[in-house]
């Protein structure tokens, strides 16, 4: 039996390069660096947006200028210079394609490298793709099928043109444009993103998915996603990200808004594997994301995330449980390696009666990384019989990394039932020994244990995504996941 110890694993983790780092050379139209009102206007004009949208952006921009960058997160990094970023970049070959043959072959090759080629995706069990390279949608598939059901699934800039009423009604209702520093920035300069509307009583027949990629060097990506599930509808939405290797830090400040009206259910899954920086902690993506969902009566929102990439992650998918009997869920695996820093968690705001929330967070830290869980469970005085269960487990590999837990629990109603549990441990020698004894070598044993550790969350991912999640875990913790 080969002697595969944790030290070997650690060594491997150190030397493991970012496998999916590459750069596609597509001619891009890029704005000059810097940010001012003119740039905001120019972005808006470029997108051919109506007047109200331009004003909305400008208002956000003005608010953003008054704000300061938040510093409370348990991460340290060199602050991005917001005047050194180009705020708009669109692939040049603009016309929309009806079939894949028309798509830039180089782009197709890119997806092939990622193992997510459109052909494969099309063949896979009914996944409609809204592919975002840099900031503009270049391909949308399965639109017809969705259109039959009355489902609107398109890029947000297209939605602003075609369904201005819907966008105007819902945008900024869950994440107000002045919500926080990065949300305000995003509201001012967001270039594209996805919009999804599920009409009353419709169950979306397929998993909707988009791929975000940061492609152009030095271009910040400001995605805006808005998902509205009307009364009694259901949708499962997938989001996955990979990014090419870059030396300078790239900023990503996305905003995701979910609105689940009465009896609706939204399942939002993310697999995130942006370039985490190399073994020396150089480069990597800054991921400062605001994600929030609003649940009306009897509605349910479920966030599932697998976070393996990014140099800095600052992300708290939250649920506002406004309606009675609404349910919020948060399942997360965050893996950090080398010099990665993650400060992630959730907020569950219980406002309605009989609201329920579940938080399962698994953190795996290796190398010299820091992994923090930060969560808030808030029970308002009117939230009768609210129920929360939180569980945060951390797994440490090596003694140069850190795992932190910062749960905030605020209960203002006596009928609330809240449980919070957190543990920190390492892979026990006895566990490894037990496996060895039964003829499982150490590498497999570690794989088994890590798999078991994160099973609760992996199980929540849709089938198509679970495969990808496994792949991403492999990259981050090669040798430890079978």
């Amino acid at each position: 039996m080969s002697k595969y110890t944790e030290d070997d694993l650690r060594e491997e983790l150190k030397t493991k390069e970012y496998e999916y780092g590459f750069y596609t050379d597509i001619k891009s139209e890029t704005f000059p660096k810097g940010l001012n009102e003119d740039i905001v206007r120019a972005i808006s004009k470029k997108k051919n947006e109506p007047e109200w949208m331009t004003e909305w952006r400008l208002e956000a921009f003005r608010a953003w200028q008054e704000m300061t960058e938040p510093e409370w997160a348990n991460v340290t990094y060199k602050k991005p210079d917001f005047q050194e970023i180009s705020y708009y970049s669109a692939p040049n070959s603009k016309p929309k394609y009806d079939s894949l043959d028309e798509v830039d072959p180089e782009l197709l090759a890119t997806f092939e490298k990622l193992g997510i080629s459109l052909e494969e995706q099309k063949k896979l069990a009914g996944v409609a793709m809204d592919v975002v390279v840099d900031s503009v949608s270049v391909a949308t598939t399965f639109k017809e099928t969705l259109a039959e059901k009355g489902i609107i699934f398109m890029s947000i800039s297209e939605a602003i043109q075609k369904h201005p009423d819907l966008v105007k009604k819902y945008i900024g209702t869950v994440v107000p444009k002045k919500d926080n520093f990065y949300a305000a920035l995003n509201s001012a300069v967001f270039s594209d993103g996805s919009f999804c509307y599920i009409p009353k009583g419709v169950k979306c027949p397929m998993e909707l998915s988009t791929y975000f990629r940061i492609n152009q060097a030095g271009t910040g990506q400001f995605e805006r996603t808005l998902v509205v599930a009307d009364k009694g509808s259901y949708v499962s939405y997938l989001e996955g990200c990979t990014a090419p290797s870059r030396d300078e830090n790239q900023l990503h400040a996305a905003v995701v808004e979910l609105i689940a009206l009465e009896d609706a259910e939204i399942k939002y899954s993310t697999v995130q594997n942006w370039f985490p920086g190399n073994a020396e902690g150089k480069g990597g993506v800054y991921n400062f994301v605001t994600k929030r969902g609003l649940c009306e009566k009897n509605a349910k929102i479920s966030w599932t995330q697998v976070e393996t990439g990014s140099a800095i992650t600052w992300k708290y998918p939250s649920c506002v449980l406004k309606g009675d009997n609404s349910v919020g869920e948060f399942y997360s695996i965050a893996v950090t390696n080398n010099f990665q820093q993650a400060d992630t968690g959730t907020k569950m705001i219980h406002l309605g009666k009989n609201t329920k929330s579940t938080i399962i967070s698994k953190g795996i830290s290796a190398g010299k990384s820091q992994n923090s869980y930060r969560g808030l469970v808030q029970i308002s005085p009117r939230a009768e019989n609210a129920r929360n269960f939180s569980q945060c487990d951390s797994l440490l590999m090596g003694n140069e990394c850190g795992a932190h837990t910062f749960p905030y629990i605020e209960a203002k109603n006596k009928s609330a039932q809240i449980e919070h549990e957190a543990t920190t441990s390492k892979i026990g020698e006895d566990q490894i020994f037990y496996c060895n004894q039964r003829g499982i070598d150490t590498e497999k044993a570690i794989a088994l244990i890590v798999n078991g550790f994160s099973k609760d969350v992996l199980n929540k991912l849709p089938m198509e995504f679970a495969v990808e999640a496994q792949k991403l875990l492999e990259i981050s913790l090669e040798g430890s996941v079978g």
């Binding site: 409370w72 440490l396 140069e400 905030y408 209960a411 919070h420």
Partner: protein, 437 residues
Amino acid sequence: MELKDKLVSSFMAFEDMVDIDSPVHNIRTEAIKTFETEGFPTKRQEAWKYTSLNSILKHNYSVFPKHENALEYGDVKKYFIHDIDSYKIIFVDGKYSSHLSQTTHEGIDVCLMSAALTKPKYRLVIENYFNKIAAKDGLSSLNTAFSAEGAYIHIPKNKVVEKPIQILHFSTGNESALMLQPRNLVVVDENSHVQIIERHQSLTDNPVLTNCVTEIFANKRAIVDYYKIQNDRQTASLIDNTFINQKQESIAKVHTFSFGGKLTRNNLNFYQNGERIDSTMKGITIIGDKQHVDHNTLVHHIEPNCESHQDYKGIFDDKATGVFNGKVIVEKEAQKTNAFQANNNVLISDKASINTKPQLEIFADDVKCSHGCTIGQLDESAMFYLRSRGIPEKEAKGLLMFAFSNNVLDSVAIPEIKNRITKIIAQKLGVSIGFDL
């Protein structure tokens, strides 16, 4: 005048009363400067997110009480653990009361901070220990700046102190509003063992604010058992800052029983500077009205093979608010650490609220750390069981709540304290628990 300005300006008057040539005075001047820049904490600070001092800082506190007020033992007997023999260090309005106290210099030193700060024979201990672990935040610095009186306890090597030491602070309401800043120092040398009981009690309804700092040093294999009983009036507020420095194989336990007071803030900090250390902090909080109790704990695991146990129970009625803010830091070197933290709360009324924030910061991989925290109600089936056996609702509730908080009492080593606390709990819950413990 703002309380902060008043305190800063009264430092000059304070200087007239103390020996300004002693080395301690340098520490005081340094501290008043820190206080001047830091000021009182506000809700903007993370550690004070849920506790606002505004309501208690608005009174016009007198900082140096003028009169001495004599108290008769009979009047205050009920505040003592009086059924056992003990050493007593008693202060009335911040002044030492010799006729109520019982101090000693035989083998051990149980005496006054004022003596320790001025007499040459204590100089070495003061130099080595005074203000060595107290935090340099606004409130602790304020206390350091005005440190003159308090309890001084020094237990030399290999001594088991045969009876507990009681430290009591009474305020008599002589002043319309009084601010007290006791400063205690406890040094327990190798292999020694001591039990200490601390209590702050206001005797009238005049507002009292106590900003207390206690430094405790548990040297090699020392055992320190510390009890804080907080059952004060609705007008009295307490900010307690306790810092415990532990050396190898020492055991330190702090039990905090919070049953009253307008605002109580317990800053409890453990620093483990050695291997195989055991730290325990437990607390029961039962409050109602508009009371506010905030437990802010820190355990800093610096070296390997140590343990820490935290268990805080809270029952909140009426408009009471509770805060638990526990932090465990495990340094990279502190392998094989076992750290446990539990915080369980019951809310009885709709207006009561609880904010809890149990935090873990872990930098070592071979550790077992966990925290658990719950907020809930009494078990309905247990209620039903008791009711079905003819126990009235109120008593049944009382019994269940008693049971809920009881395991904190298990580790109380002085039976008389256990009895006393049991009685207070029963009284708080408004029931007579029909059995003795």
